[in-house]
Amino acid sequence: MDDLFSPNVMRWVLLAVLAAPLAFAAVLAVGGGNPRVARRLAGLFAALHVGLTAWVVIPAAVMIAEYGAMNNGEAYKHFRPVFVPGDTGDGQEHRTAWSLFFVGKPTPNAPPPAVQFYIGLDGINVWLVALTSLMTFIAVAVSWGFAQERAGGYFAWLFVLQSAVTGAFLSFDVILFYVFFELTLIPAFFLIGGWGVGGGKRDAARKFFLYTLFGSLLSLVGLVGIVLTNPTPPGGWRNNTQSLKQDRGTLSFNVNDLMRSTVRISIEHEYAIADAGVKLEQAKPLDQSGRDSAEAELAKAKAARDGYKSTQFWLFFLLVAGFVVKVPLVPFHTWLPAAYAEAPPAVTLLLSALLAKLGTLGLLRIVIPLCPHMAVEYGLPVFGTLGAIGIVYAAFCAYAQKDVKMMAAYSSVSHLGLLALGLFALNPEGLTGAVLHMVNHGLTAGGLFAVIAILYDRYRTTDMTQLGGLMARHPALAFFTFVICLAGVGLPGLNNFVSEMMLIGALFTPWNAAAMGYGLAVAAAAGIFLSAWYTFTMLRSVFFGPVRTPALAADAPPPDLSGREVLAVGLIAALCLALGLYPQPVVDVVKGDVAVVAQTLKHARRVVNPDLADAEDRQSGMEQQPISVNPTLIPAGGRGGPPAGGPGGPPRMPQQPPR
């Protein structure tokens, strides 16, 4: 029995979680001619996959939580994925030996840099992988009546989409991530274009594909640039005495190496400047040539630092492009209304519950760790502001919609704006809240779209003007809808409350005047209020009042939920409740790897804005001193006065992760 859960087996199970949907898709594409057979097969496969995922996710979560507890408040320097296929050295290395593609030629000392098949589970992605499997199962369950025509192809593409999304969540290699990220486009294109429910489905599919592709191609250049400007030091990580000047080092494509390189390179630039500064001070006043050379060295070091910074600046904006389109943040969301409206309801479910998370996960896994300095400098002012604008704008758009599906679409944009805003607060509360909110938003938004799919199945419309009083006709559906909607608006005791409060709490960081100064938290709080407004308006119009249904369904009132549908929405409602009442186990798993990102950001903050870093340290009680960049960079204390904003933040949440 023990063997079944040994890491060696788990690695293969993890691979199976990634590859099995492709096999399912192949079977369905070949043998799915009959819709009745196809949907049963699809249901069976999706359930199997949930079992497979549970087999690997639960032990992984236990293991990750243990790692998180083991590190004694000291964050690791890199993510520690477990169950990495091709792990070198007995699972302790957390890296893989499976190289896909070598770039360049081998050097005498090292193998050539390689794009690797580097996947694994860590605190950030483990729940998202579980969410993917679950949501695909629910999408299949609510597509039961929808897929009559070419059912085999429909379910096959659903599984291909699942595989691509899972792959992107699992990837720790930037190019591998990009590959899976792009591959989601093909199934989504065919699902929207081929099985869409509106007249403009082909245009919607193309728009979706092209917008996302445009953004992600820019991200590809950003990734290439990040890889090229952040080589791994020649002597490996242990050998910190090696300096940049001697050897450029080897390229690496994995997130862990890149994240450590970017911290290290910026620190070395600061060291070089400080060194030169000290030399200049020590040079004798009359030693003109000595002063000149010291000055030249200082100027050179500064130029090198500025060059690196300006490169990072451009790379940050290139990198972020693909993800803000995918999330989407507000000015880049214009593909979304068409795609969500025209897609089959179950596909809209996946778009909102899973594909949007690719964007936010990309921000958290790729953009923030690999460009930490620019994220500190521009994250909140630029993308936080966009997020805040999006929260309010999309909330008003949601209120204005006449179609339940469109309301849910804009509501999704609004909530994701909040997620991005909290994420760019760049403190542990915000990052943890963001990871948690990815899961919670997946459940609530996914649940709402599942309800919409069920409604569409009954009435072939989701127009609020044509639907009313459904409470009387479908009491069970109404009950679950209420639970899911209440979770969506953040009622205490349900899941969204926890993560939304963490995200808003992150904006009230007393040490970060910048976060307060923009009044972003006000927008976030307003968003929660507005979300209650439009959600309850929708509920009143659709579920209360006199019964109103479209003519075609009038003579034979459709039944209430079937057992299969109760399972689908009931599962979501139950999870919403469970995560709302007792989120601590989930947070425990998340916190270890979030601390890795937070640590990177701390280093970045010390380089970008030493005052802020000091304020942060004071606030956290000087528990630990992060590695000091240079004595000259850390003011002797008290410079800049007490942190603006003061201790006037809101009461901290009980779920706040320990630092």
Partner: protein, 520 residues
């Protein structure tokens, strides 16, 4: 002293016959085919003979050893090192695919002539890869051009076909003249027609000009003329005007050749003249210490890809669309030429020349695959000309539609296709050029421009994919038949996927073929 009194030179001249035996075999089979043509040979016989000729040339290439070590590049007119054997195998495989593709075009009464011309053209491409002398290089390029004139004319019984053949002929002759003019300057500068000597002379001459840091102005003029002459072959803007018209009027199989073979020949010739893709390498005469030639290539690359993509957006005719698409991809490949010839990479980095070779092959697979599908679908009574003619192909002809879709996704550059790996290598190569040269960060800017172009190109490729799968067919479904063209299309699509999913072995081949030239 005449060259003939130099015994080493004469020895090298004699020995070089050994290095062109497969090409001789190809031309020999072509002569046989021309003879058969007089006897009214059937198209299956012509096809069989041509395929046998290609296979025979391949066998000779394997069996005859090439004593590479004995070649002195400063004397030999044929240099079998560097990319030479890579290009030879590329030409042979391409010839085999084109023979299959020619099935549709040889319905007329000239199948033997068609295949004979094809073999001569393939021999020409192969020779471009190994020519080490201005004269042999020019002859190799003409060996490619002249059969193409005939090929364009042979199956064309229509006015537009004849017009396109005539247009190609006149412009091609003009470009050859420009190229020769440039060659004459190179000869004048170096005092030799040997490529190795020319490159070495120019590369070693430049550092003496510390006070006036520019390569000899004459060398720049020569190179601009060469770029103009070869720009016609690779359909670089502004030498691209013939492409859409000729593609539209030409027979599909020939157009597929026109889309690929001249590009191979043009890029390889350009790279050789600029000093890379030979194992001996005489240095880089036009590196980033001087901006004139790098900047010229930069501008040509940017204009070529942008024009190609923007104009392709407006096309409804499939062949015109692929003409502009080919122009745009030529622009991407120019990035490879530019990086390879102006910025030698550090030891462990991605080099521009193997990225160029990889992209050439990837481009060939996806474009020829797409043309093969068109050739398969076209029937004399029901030609496939516009994008709308492909409506609903996913239902009526799933295999052909799938092959075309794979090629289109590869042209977009989606992962798991050869197009993605090719683009990734090009971007890596261009982005890592140091920014402290005189070109500043222009290479990085170029990468971003290329990426924006790739996104624009997705618009028109995706439109075709949408038409294939998301529209109802408005033509009656024909009974599916297997044709040699379909075989060629499936082979190309499958190879595209294989190169995309497991590129390592092939990338190793390109790396071996494109040795890195050290900076001077």
């Amino acid at each position: 002293m005449t060259p003939l009194s130099n015994q080493a030179f004469v020895d090298h001249l004699t020995a070089s016959v050994r290095f062109v035996l497969p090409e001789v075999a190809l031309v020999g089979v072509a002569c046989l085919l021309f003879t058969l043509a007089a006897l009214r040979c059937s198209r299956s016989l012509a096809m069989a003979v041509a395929l046998l000729g290609v296979v025979g040339a391949g066998v000779i290439a394997i069996l005859v050893p090439e004593p590479v070590g004995q070649v002195n590049p400063a004397l030999a007119p044929i240099d079998p090192t560097g990319a030479a054997s890579f290009i030879r195998w590329l030409a042979l495989v391409a010839a085999a695919v084109y023979v299959l593709l020619g099935w549709a075009d040889t319905r007329t009464d000239t199948p033997a002539e068609y295949h004979a011309c094809l073999l001569v053209a393939a021999a020409g491409v192969s020779l471009v890869g190994r020519a080490n002398d201005l004269v042999s290089l020019f002859l190799a390029l003409e060996m490619l051009s002249i059969p193409t004139y005939v090929l364009l004319y042979l199956p064309s019984r229509t006015r537009t076909g004849q017009e396109s053949a005539m247009k190609y002929f006149l412009l091609s002759v003009l470009s050859s003249a420009v190229l020769l003019f440039g060659f004459s300057y190179l000869y004048g500068l170096a005092g030799s027609t040997n490529l190795h000597v020319i490159v070495t002379t120019l590369a070693s001459a430049a550092p003496h000009k510390e006070l006036d840091p520019a390569v000899s102005p004459l060398a720049v003029v020569a190179m601009v003329l060469v770029i103009a002459g070869l720009g016609f072959r690779v359909a670089a803007v502004p030498f691209h005007f013939y492409a859409p018209d000729v593609y539209e009027g030409g027979p599909t199989g020939v157009v597929a050749q026109l889309a690929f073979l001249p590009k191979v020949a043009g890029f390889v010739a350009l790279a050789r003249l600029l000093g890379v893709m030979s194992a001996h390498g005489g240095g880089l005469p036009y590196d980033t210490q001087h901006t004139l030639i790098p900047l010229t290539l930069w501008v040509v690359a940017v204009v070529t890809m942008s024009f190609g993509n923007l104009l392709a957006l407006l096309q409804d005719n499939l062949k015109r669309l692929f003409a502009y698409s080919g122009i745009a991809h030529g622009g991407y490949m120019l990035i490879g030429v530019l990086v390879a010839c102006t910025a030698p990479p550090a030891s462990a980095d991605q080099s521009g020349s193997d990225a160029l070779l990889f992209y050439l092959v990837a481009y060939g697979l996806m474009t020829v695959g797409a043309f093969a599908v068109l050739a398969h679908l076209s029937a004399p009574d029901q030609p496939v000309e516009t994008v709308d003619d492909l409506a609903g192909l996913g239902k009526t002809n799933p295999l052909a539609a799938a092959a075309l879709a794979v090629c289109l996704f590869s042209l977009i550059g989606l992962p798991l296709t050869a197009g993605f790996v090719g683009k990734l290598q090009l971007f890596l190569a261009a982005f890592q050029v140091p920014t402290d040269t005189k070109m500043k960060s222009l290479f990085q800017v170029l990468t971003v421009i290329a990426v924006v172009n790739a996104a624009v190109s997705a618009v028109y490729y995706l439109r075709i994919v949408g038409v294939l799968y998301l529209r109802a067919p408005f033509r009656p479904a024909r009974p599916t038949r297997t044709s040699p063209q379909l075989v060629a299309a499936v082979v190309c699509a499958a190879a595209t996927l294989v190169l995309g999913m497991y590129p390592q072995p092939f990338a190793d081949l390109t790396r071996k073929a494109a040795p890195v030239v050290a900076a001077r």
